[in-house]
Symmetry: C2
Subunit: 442 residues, 2 copies
């Protein structure tokens, strides 16, 4: 392996230099804050899972895209491609003890071996929200509003993001009404979800090969022409529980004050086989219409991998699309976090004073970038203005006089303080700092 | 695979249920806060690294303990066992652009396939601090004081933790003085570091097999009898740069106000081959004397894997030993994070009001656990007292009267507010919350 390759991350994996961490932390903080505001509890697990678990859950292609390996006892392992199998395993392991409904969230790195393209990495971080054991439609509304709250915290507006909602149960009702037998529904969802990626003729071929007759295939496409819940109810001969679930969700979104962002869209199907009810996708409302997050209700997953039945609603929200979107919109400039104070000393005779000042400021809750060797003022102030909001430079006179000057590096003001007051923590140094942004949530 | 096994995490890996996240978040927050207070910048990378990189760096056994695998193009990959090779790779890749010295930190999950024993998992999270490109001993002092500050933030006292420091360069000086040739030094460090794990005769055998004569072996053991820097200087015939580096470090620790926690200990050697100067270990001062963190100066690593020479000091601090220690000492009780408010409704007729109240409180910065279905008061208040600091229960009368009551669940007080004021965000609801702990650092 050449050195050039050796010093890059493995193909498809990302490095996060400090400058890259600024955007990542901004996104993660918004995720954590929104999840906590809505009372979701954090959970996590190792990125390594047993291959048997992932295979039991995996539908559609994921199996081929796993990074798999064995430990030295021959156990077959894999890097998780999504968090849902892990979540299901953890709940099943304690299904008798955990009080339902539970509302859990995580920010988890997930791995998928795929062909590389723009925006397609082989790893990403995914924010997951799940509510398990709650049949009420309010669960869907909690999850969608929490995702939107995170986006609004990041600076996006209700005009920037659209949430499209659908109900697989409503589609199934229409399929049945139009004579498509239930055994073809799962395959039909999967095939129709490929619309836009492959052409309609190819979808027809898939459905025909699956044993559907030409009339059923025509009817399946006809369903995609339904543009409103009213239209769906006309086909169905009136309201059904599946249409009322959608109406109820839209009404709840209004009550949360976020109704304007949400609309019915029969084309939102979600590829994964395990969704059983409401499904939703959040889109960048700009030209690109990239999907930012997506999810839905899944009622059969826990039972299908060996647990007791439990209804659930979940959402996944990756860091790559939103990162690109924030950067494109100029909502994030990638500026480094600033320290409160940069501290330096001219000669080693002032080192002790500098160490004491830095130690005292840190003890009293400030962040301090201390230069670790004697430094000339010019180099120090150039660097300090990139790293910190205020600067303290200690020369021989300062230490002799027992005084120091704090320079505010943004407002170019300065003020003198007694060294002893700084060390005792009694100096009001806060006045020399531009007011800090509000305390970031963890 | 049986279902029982299927629902456990893979052997040696940990699950973090919400109750487990409390301790983990407590530890991580202290790490982040201490690193930021000292001006360290965050970085991160994928847990997947190229095997070639890890092999180039790995000394001593790590090579055998890697989880290795190949991607579908046959690239040899591995899960990182430590962060240092990744750090070195990232710096080398941009060695012409990155301004030195740099101070970086990360909290990274690392994997090592080892035999299981108490406190030995196959994965752990490790806090890393590294300063690259700074020869001054102040770099060592910054790292040790930052580690101590994290421990003090967690509630440990200067009496609870001891930091033992040594200097490999001082040992090498003494070895030379006692006639042990330089080519045997590396092997001697490694062998002496095994003291306590294997008996002294076995260490003698290792050294003899490595070609050392009996007198040199006796002298190597004699070095371990040196109990003070004074004694070392007596053997060396006076102060040396290596003894003065240690004295300087101890003095700096005093200036930081943390001198009492630190002492010279010639037995601290650190197994890893790459340390070249000061080495240190932080211990639980209780009976167990478990190592909590450790590190030292490594001057040759970047060059040895293909970069330009750069001096560096680094530290690793895992989450397992400190987690056990905090739990043993009763410094952490594992109490769940509380929400500000729990909100519930008696019948579906109050659902709209409950949703509006929860939405408004969240919009105004509060964390709210909203019950997602109508609920009887008894069950709600029992659950709310575990999840939240205050509770709002909406019955038909409340909505009719346009009023609601907030109950403080700790102080058992309650007070009435106008529903409209809550929704408008004008009600002073903060008075019904026990003052929250200070804003946790990210």
């Amino acid at each position: 392996m050449s050195d050039d390759t050796l010093f890059n991350p493995p193909r498809g994996m990302r490095d996060f230099y400090p400058a890259d961490m600024v955007l990542r932390t901004f996104i993660f903080n918004a995720w954590h804050a929104a999840a906590r505001a809505a009372g979701f509890e954090p959970y996590d697990a190792s990125v390594v899972e047993s291959l048997a678990l992932l295979k039991r859950k995996s539908g559609e292609e994921i199996g081929d895209q796993l990074y798999t390996f064995a430990d030295k006892s021959g156990r077959e392992l894999a890097l998780r491609a999504e968090m849902t199998p892990t979540l299901a395993r953890m709940i099943i392991a304690r299904q008798n003890e955990l009080p339902l409904p539970l509302k859990w969230y995580t920010v988890a790195q997930c791995f998928r071996y795929e062909r590389m393209s723009k925006g397609r990495k082989r790893e990403h971080y995914q924010w997951n929200l799940d509510i398990v054991g709650e049949p009420a439609i309010l669960a869907e509304a909690e999850i969608i509003t929490t995702a939107l709250r995170a986006l609004y915290t990041m600076g996006l507006t209700p005009q920037d993001v659209r949430v499209h909602v659908n109900n697989r149960a409503l589609m199934a009702d229409i399929f049945l009404k139009l004579g498509i037998p239930a055994e073809h529904h799962a395959a039909t969802f999967l095939a129709l979800d490929k619309r836009g990626k492959i052409d309609d003729d190819a979808i027809r071929t898939i459905l025909r090969d699956g044993g559907m007759d030409a009339v059923s295939i025509d009817n399946a496409f006809r369903v995609l022409g339904v543009h409103s819940i009213d239209e769906a109810e006309t086909i169905l001969g009136g309201p059904t529980p599946s249409s009322e679930a959608l109406r109820s969700l839209l009404q709840l979104m209004d009550e949360y004050g976020m109704g304007g962002a949400v609309s019915f869209d029969i084309a939102v199907i979600r590829g994964l086989g395990y969704y059983t009810g409401i499904v939703f996708e959040g889109f960048d409302a700009g030209q690109s219409m990239r999907a930012i997050f997506g999810g839905g209700r899944y009622d059969n997953l826990l039972q299908s991998i060996g647990g007791k039945p439990a209804t659930a609603v979940g959402m996944g929200f990756g860091d790559v699309v939103i990162g690109d979107l924030l950067t494109d919109r100029g909502l994030h400039t990638g500026t480094n976090h600033l320290c409160d104070f940069a501290v330096a000393f001219m000669t080693d005779d002032q080192r002790t004073a500098a160490v004491r000042v830095a130690g005292a400021l840190r003890r009293h809750g400030h962040t301090v970038d201390l230069t670790l060797h004697s430094e000339k003022p010019k180099g120090f102030f150039a660097r300090a203005s990139r790293s910190s909001r205020a600067a303290i430079y200690l020369g021989p006179d300062d230490v002799t006089r027992g005084l120091l000057r704090i320079k505010n590096l943004e407002q170019r003001t300065e003020r003198e303080y007694a060294l002893a007051d700084i060390i005792a923590g009694t100096a009001a140094v806060g006045e020399m700092l531009i007011p800090a942004p509000p305390c970031p949530p963890q």
